[in-house]
Symmetry: C2
Subunit: 293 residues, 2 copies
């Protein structure tokens, strides 16, 4: 039986797996993200004896997701050492002559959730990860939505919580969303990691404020069918009601729709696929590549 290959390439680890067009993962392995040469040697060795029909790759970014471009399939301007301007898709195509789909890791996760996860009853969704960094991807009608390049939604500007004096941790923008609300910001601000902080710690008021602002803006701009929040923060289930409550205040009745006014508890949710959203989405990317979409 021929399988589909899936890669979830993150800044910390690369998860590789094989599975079916229905999104079933039948095997998986993971490698630390070191240099491209070393990491990709591990990836290629894993897939070499598998009989694959197609491959889907969700990669950390920024990437170039547009097939028309000369840098399509590259990790482009990442500050991560060794990986800037790296032709990730090219390294795989050199070894495997099969159809391949390539997109941002969070966009692949959005595709997984929209196809088989928390948004499978919807025509699309926004998937946001809040962890070491913040990123988000959008799916509409079963397809990932990109512009002239893939989105970088984690770096939108938010308003500072009035009691927050932390300067912000983003090397580019200081106190953008990621700079104020990703894991490193929590750790530097409070001297402890998020999972070490009690549910009634003030950290979560700040976190809910920033994520609610982000979702208010993303709703007004994208009106996504559903919002799915993954990454480390999605394990903090007490945060979800806080985000929903503050979001309702911020929108203040302006968006008149049952999703926002009556169904917010099922509109902003953790991933239906748990930690499998990214790898499942990569399988769907592989399936779409096979179908020539």
């Amino acid at each position: 039986m021929k399988y589909l290959g899936a890669i979830e390439g993150g800044g910390t680890k690369f998860v590789c797996g094989i599975g079916t067009a229905e999104g079933e993962i039948v095997d998986r392995v993971s490698f630390p993200t070191t240099t491209p040469d070393e990491t990709m040697a591990n990836v290629i060795a894993y897939f070499e004896d598998k009989s694959l029909e197609a491959m889907g790759i969700g990669s950390f970014g920024p990437i170039d997701p547009n097939p028309g471009n000369s840098t399509y399939g590259y990790i482009t301007s990442t500050p991560k050492p060794h990986w800037g301007n790296y032709n990730l898709l090219g390294a795989l195509k050199e070894r495997f002559d099969i159809p391949m789909g390539f997109d941002l890791d969070v966009s692949a996760a959005a595709l997984g959730e929209a196809t088989l996860g928390a948004a499978k009853e919807q025509s699309g969704c926004l998937y946001m990860t809040v962890g070491t960094g913040i990123g988000a991807g959008l799916v509409k009608n079963g397809q990932i939505v990109n512009g002239f390049t893939s989105p970088e939604m984690g770096h939108i500007l938010v308003r500072r919580h009035p009691e927050d004096t932390f300067a912000g941790a983003c090397p580019y923008h200081g106190d953008c969303l990621e700079g104020l609300a990703a894991g490193p910001a929590i750790e530097r601000r409070w001297g402890a990691k998020g999972f070490e902080l009690a549910p009634d710690h003030k950290a979560w008021q700040f976190e809910a404020e920033y994520l609610a602002q982000a979702f208010a803006n993303l709703i007004l701009v994208l009106m996504p069918e559903k919002i799915i929040v993954g990454g480390g923060v999605s394990k903090q289930l007490h945060l979800f009601p806080m985000i929903r409550s503050r979001l309702t205040e911020l929108l203040n009745g302006y968006v008149v729709h049952p999703k926002i006014q009556e169904q917010l508890d099922t509109y902003i949710v953790p991933p239906g696929l748990g930690d499998n959203a990214g790898l499942t989405g990569a399988l769907i990317l592989a399936k779409q590549a096979l179908q020539g979409r």
Copy 2:
């Protein structure tokens, strides 16, 4: 010869016209927006003796743009007296048995600019109007992009300019983008309308700050192929270099792409179609309806 009908339905006036599938406007007329009955009687009387193949409508919002919904074609939750929950498309369909396209006014303008205006060489664009209110629409691959409803980008949150003490003019959000940067905010803050203020007036520093923040966020979320700024503010040409300069500071080199790094002068621009963007876009909506898209 059969023409296409076009309606640009605004909160102040309804512009109606006829034209060709190539976007040529051959006749136009305009009526003040009063009650729905009176306004629509004028609209219907104008089109009654025209021989039309199809009609396109760009309407002020919020509207329901999704054909699957029972309120498709309605102006939904507007605070404008008499127009809330008004079946605009239904009133037209009752009189004219022809294909009709219906969407938000700014989305229609984006479609006009993407097809025949400043973004005709691009695969899409974002069109923002800054006037009595602020709104924006997105086009990708020749199609208007909506979510569970049409976007309301004018109400995104921005950070207050440190010297700005004006409370904001939005009845829902106070100091959202529209509340701080639309025409009424300028007039109430400075006691004069925008066109009465000299190019070196501090008003324009505030305006550039708020619009640059909005475009920074919209770029990070949508990565639109081009940004087109219409409405009254687009007549203030001195504002464009101020917005571009502040936007470059805010993004701080994070979005690595020639559009942002080298071509910002042609990336954020006034409408190529001037005040015809909306009506031209409505003609394209009519053409798409005729083609069954």
